[in-house]
Symmetry: C2
Subunit: 501 residues, 2 copies
């Protein structure tokens, strides 16, 4: 059986390498590629993705999985062999529904769609990307159609990013959150915190990048096993276990923009940099789900990165980097400035509280698109209407609306946004668990020491990669299923204090 297991491992190794190269092709397209490269890159992406998929669903893997089943059943669930076989079987089963040709068409289309979107975004021109989005919607429906017997058309798409989640569970969860969020937002709206004007003063790009680098090195990003670049929309990619790349964007008149995205992406990177080396080159060496992934980025970006303790340590450093911008304000003014609750049009620039409304809205819209009750042509207007209802703001352009997120332009429509709220919820649930074991974490952060929290996250979450399902992992780490209570409690405590309510 060892021979068969090693055979499986070799095949997985190969497929994992081919897939990781898709990641490099994507990263390079966003960060380096000259415009003339798009035709060749779309072809490369399509061919590489199809090939990786063909190798995964080839008879060889199926035969090995079948032959290894009795062996797997004798192994402890937690063991290396059992976990590797289990995760491979899970991914094989899912992938075997998808014809390789679909994979090629999808990637070829998304490569082009992404490029057209970049231009459409720059020029506020939804019409130019609309036919691409229509094709993406068709492809998303086609993907779903490969899975018979699912309750909702969006379920297979959601499951792709957040295994085990469905439209029905998410709707329930989002309703619960919305019900609890609405009174909080109303309460906050009664009080006005003035904006902190220093945050929109000139902050030179180089200093922003250097400061961001100092911060993420301090919290644990390993620059020997990663790098940071600039791109239109920040993202993280795992080229290999020793090569995890993050990107950011810089606005010299909006300090928080690059800073928060830097810490956010570093949170993702810490997750992958922390996966146990024993999983290198296997399907286990990846994040457990996008929801768990976002729990890591949003934990560092918000719970830590917007906390008073964090800035107690870093604010004097910030003042050294930007003497003209931040030297003359107090830590308290800065802290209130970065946590000011204010409905705004861009999701990635939203405050922690209203951010969730952005996500719920996107989730609802993609469900409507998939169900067919909303057409792509009507999407920009539907976006504006819904935004007006939820935020009381009249949007002046699609750049501030439907064009802002890359998700629907470089991936499926469906299953793309729920992970952000799952991430928020889990970030608080995980942090609560960490604090209950190590109450000293908060005080350590105040002194600029992040080692205890990082080690807890690594040992409890990062280390396992995809070994456990999201549900298993949450239960193992927190002793219970996912619950919104810690997150709602966190928001209430923080913001009722901040707003003196």
């Amino acid at each position: 059986m060892r021979v068969l297991f090693d055979e499986l491992k070799d095949l997985v190794n190969e497929i994992d390498a081919l897939e990781s190269i898709v990641g490099l092709l994507d990263w390079d397209q966003e960060v380096n590629m000259p415009v003339g490269g798009i035709e060749g890159r779309s072809r490369q992406l399509a061919i590489q993705a199809r090939l990786a998929h063909e190798k995964l669903i080839a008879p060889a893997i199926k035969h090995l999985l079948t032959a290894l089943k009795p062996y797997q059943d004798t192994l402890p669930y937690d063991s290396h062999e059992s976990s590797l076989i289990r995760v491979t079987r899970y991914l094989y089963d899912k992938a075997s529904h998808i014809p390789p040709d679909f994979q090629a068409r999808l990637y070829e289309h998304l490569g082009k769609s992404q490029t057209v979107w970049l231009k459409a975004y720059a020029e506020n021109d939804f019409a130019s990307v609309r036919p691409f989005l229509e094709k993406t919607l068709d492809l998303s429906r086609e993907y779903s159609s490969f899975f018979n017997g699912c309750e909702h058309i969006a379920d297979p798409l959601i499951d792709l990013n957040d295994p085990g989640m469905t439209v029905s569970t998410i709707r329930h969860l989002f309703k619960e959150m919305r019900d609890q969020l609405t009174p909080i937002i109303k309460d906050i709206a009664r009080v006005q915190i003035p904006p902190c004007s220093s945050l929109t003063k000139f902050s030179p790009e180089l200093a922003q990048l250097s400061f961001g680098r100092e911060v993420i090195e301090k919290i644990g990003f390993d620059f020997e096993r990663g790098r940071q670049d600039k791109s239109t929309h920040p993202f993280t990619v795992q080229i290999s276990p020793g090569d995890v790349r993050i990107t950011t964007r810089v606005n010299e008149y909006d300090f928080w923009n690059a800073f928060s995205s830097t810490v956010h992406e570093a949170g993702h990177a810490l997750y992958v940099q922390g996966i146990a080396p024993t999983w290198n080159g296997t399907f286990v060496a990846h994040v457990a789900s996008e929801g768990i992934n976002e729990s890591q980025s949003r934990l560092w970006e918000n719970i830590i990165g917007r906390s008073k303790n964090f800035w107690h340590y870093f604010f004097p450093r910030l003042q050294l980097y930007f003497p003209e911008t931040f030297a003359n304000i107090s830590l308290d003014t800065f802290y209130r400035g970065i946590n000011r609750v204010q409905p705004s049009s861009i999701r990635t620039e939203a405050d922690e509280v209203t951010y969730n409304l952005h996500v719920i809205m996107r989730f609802d819209l993609e469900i409507q698109l998939l169900e067919g009750s909303l057409s792509v042509g009507d999407l920009p207007e539907a976006w504006r209407q819904r935004f007006q209802e939820d935020f009381g703001i009249c949007l002046s352009s699609d750049r501030e609306g439907v064009l802002q997120d890359p998700h629907w332009y470089d991936g499926f429509i469906g299953g793309q946004f729920q992970c952000y709220i799952l991430g928020n919820i889990l970030s608080a649930q995980f942090y609560e668990s960490a604090l209950s074991t190590y109450p000293e974490i908060e005080d350590e952060i105040r002194r600029g020491y992040f080692g205890t929290l990082r080690a807890w996250l690594k040992n409890n979450i990062h280390f396992h990669g995809r070994k456990y399902s999201p549900q298993e992992l949450i239960n193992r780490v927190t002793g219970k299923a996912m619950t919104i209570e810690p997150y709602m409690q966190y928001l209430k405590t923080k913001y009722y204090d901040l707003y003196n309510l």
Copy 2:
């Protein structure tokens, strides 16, 4: 037959894309990859290269080539279909000798070897890279062993880069060149031109890169279809027809270093950027040979880039970029400075005349290594001895000796260096042809116009990619076989004038 032809084209498309991704993996390793990425990258390179190779030698291609043979025989030699089938057949025949497993072992080894060399180079530590070089020698011999009946062990390795060339033809050529070169070098040695001290004054990196960029844009490098980055050793890579990347290195106390490498690599890039779009995604959309490839880089670097006419136009621009460095010297002093003949240790920094001795020496050493008359362990000393004999210089370190070129550390031993002399020879032969059709080229260059020369090169050479064999191409373009006369004449005329001999 059209159906079969289209099938072949689709397969070739796929293999070409897989191979071009190998190029991206290489480029990324040199330009971006963090050190931690090396293990993953070696695996990715090995798997990707083996896969591309497997696809090329798979029965599908063979069957199609066999089935298409009668059709090919009815087609004009020059036609699109015939050329595509012919080039595919040529590459298939060569590749079919090589087992896929060899390809994987080779790339995995070279990935590591290259990384070890980078460190060995930085630390002047040949011992650390020696075992890797020994393995490379074994792999080079193994490659050669796949080709039965070749006259010399190095012939298959030479043929890989310069189809049609053999040890015996090159030895003959190099002897002829050496015989003619020796009296020229002796004559020159009787006269002393003082070095131009401005060339080693401080020239800020940013200004060097900007000036280089202005120059290569002017001669025709298309930044919408390419980019320039920094790397330890300059190189050019064709990621796709619309994405051709060059690199350079900058020494702030050696202006000529980055400048000449920039123009050199741009010469390569112009070649690939100029291939007819009809060949996109096929094996024809590549350079005809490394010798032809070097003829393009060395034409721009030397015949144009070190000419008086070129600097008549660019020198005033140079003075604007570097007022403190070049404003107070004359064009003549500068021109004599960049053409000063002075034996020196580093090939890529050598003058045009002694450069050829560097190449002959490397060619001889790799032949000795392959033949077994020289061991890798004795190579550093053999290098020093030979260098002392040819250049009269005693080398003080391996960094100045055997560690300086990446070729043996990221590729085979054998067939790696002859292309530079072939390039020199052909650059003059091609330029002579261009001038005989358009004598106005020299005057145009003096006025900063490069369009006529560029168009001539594009129409006669670049456009065809690999459609013609090197020998066919040379005959078509110049009306005769390769000959060293124009090159020797060029050297004599230029340097006897410069040295008042």
